[in-house]
Symmetry: C2
Subunit: 214 residues, 2 copies
DNA sequence: ACACTAGTTTATCAGATGATAAATAAAACT
DNA sequence: AGTTTTATTTATCATCTGATAAACTAGTGT
């Protein structure tokens, strides 16, 4: 069977190194997000419309490419605005947390991000643990402090593991929405904001309520 | 360098097919949970102290072995007692949910289970989607019904996606505890029961509270 | 127009890996 | 004990896959 060359194939344009590297990295993120880290370099090259050895001009080993993908996904994902939002006591905590999760989810609850994140976590990548610790320190601990204030509790002692775990249930519960969507491919509400509002509202009211009596 | 045969090597006992198959399957679960689905058959055989071709006597292909692992992990994981616990209106909902999560977490929040579950999900395995739907139907929907009762709301209409998503935040939030522990290898509280109690209590109180005013 | 530079392809390797066939030996049977 | 059966190993294959080297050619400068 003869192959008809009727497809609109662009006359193989050459790219400048920096552009080609970016192009490869972009496609690699979406490729490995879909296929997992054991995705084959030849298949990635096919998607890019280039030959497999060309990858090795820009990334000496597959591991280097994967690391590029990880970096691209993990890097600069902590927006300094978030801490400001969370600690802005001129607004209600409900309001602040909803805005934070609106912004945070827009940044991270994406197909590529969620999946690469989970693949790297399963691989035991150091980068993942570092990120989780950073979230605890820069986001969850401040939320715990604000939560104390919201519940009318004193805030002298260090935020405990129990307090962190309590807020992790909300944080992880909302993250799990993205897992259900992008990893389980299950049915989820279209409007995530509504889910956030309800969950945050219930958590705040509930936590205040149970902090009162014992 | 000569190898000293000083190791206490048992004189290669033969197993009956059913025993050997079970032994392989048991080790395969823990092996693939750790290494992921791209774990090599030779390495698995090494762990078992057998040769790699022997695996193929019991499982014609690697895929068959993996499917055995999936089945072993997914099968019979839905305890009929759970539904009874959840719907037993002689007890407080707080009490019922805490007991359910105690039992549910003991059954599923295990290193092997959580990881194989996540690997299979990332592979887009049908088994995973089926399981998730089953959880929604047999566990989460009943909880939503009980939650309506708990909040003094009427329960005529069908449980909505919004209601499911709300309870998914709790369910996923608690599941996320296991993800943090077994996938992220992060620091978590020793006593999961305490986390459950607090989260369930806050959710129930909070949801009742926000169901009252609007 | 010619030569040079460097981005890209072609050809190929070496090791890994899933899988198979034949040889071996432990257990079971007579 | 001798024979048969079959669990297990040894040897090996075909293919895949990450990686390398050399050939090729589009673009650039003179």
């Amino acid at each position: 069977m003869t192959v008809r060359k009727t497809d609109t194939k662009l006359p193989k344009k050459r790219l400048r190194p920096e552009n080609r590297e970016q192009q490869i990295l972009d496609e690699a993120v979406s490729f490995f997000a879909e296929k997992g880290i054991s995705g084959k370099t030849r298949e990635l090259a096919d998607r890019l419309g280039i030959t497999q050895p060309l990858l090795y001009r820009y990334f000496p080993t597959k591991r280097d490419l994967i690391e590029g993908v990880f970096e691209k996904v993990y890097l600069n994902k902590l927006n300094p605005e978030w801490l400001k939002t969370i600690t802005d006591r001129d607004r209600t905590l409900q309001d602040r947390l909803c805005e934070f999760y609106r912004s945070y989810s827009a940044a991270t609850y994406r197909y590529d991000w969620i999946r690469v994140y989970m693949f790297s976590a399963l691989m035991g990548e150091e980068m993942n643990r570092r990120y989780t610790k950073l979230i605890e320190k820069e986001i969850l601990t401040p939320i715990c402090v604000e939560l104390r204030e919201h519940c009318g509790l004193p805030s002298k002692k260090r935020v405990s593991q129990a307090e962190l775990d309590h807020i992790w249930v909300l944080h992880g519960g909302l993250f799990y929405f993205a897992i259900r969507k992008h990893i389980y491919h299950g049915r989820v509400s279209k409007n995530f904001s509504v889910v956030v509002e309800r969950a945050v509202n219930a958590m705040l009211e509930g936590t205040k309520s149970i902090s009162a009596d014992p």
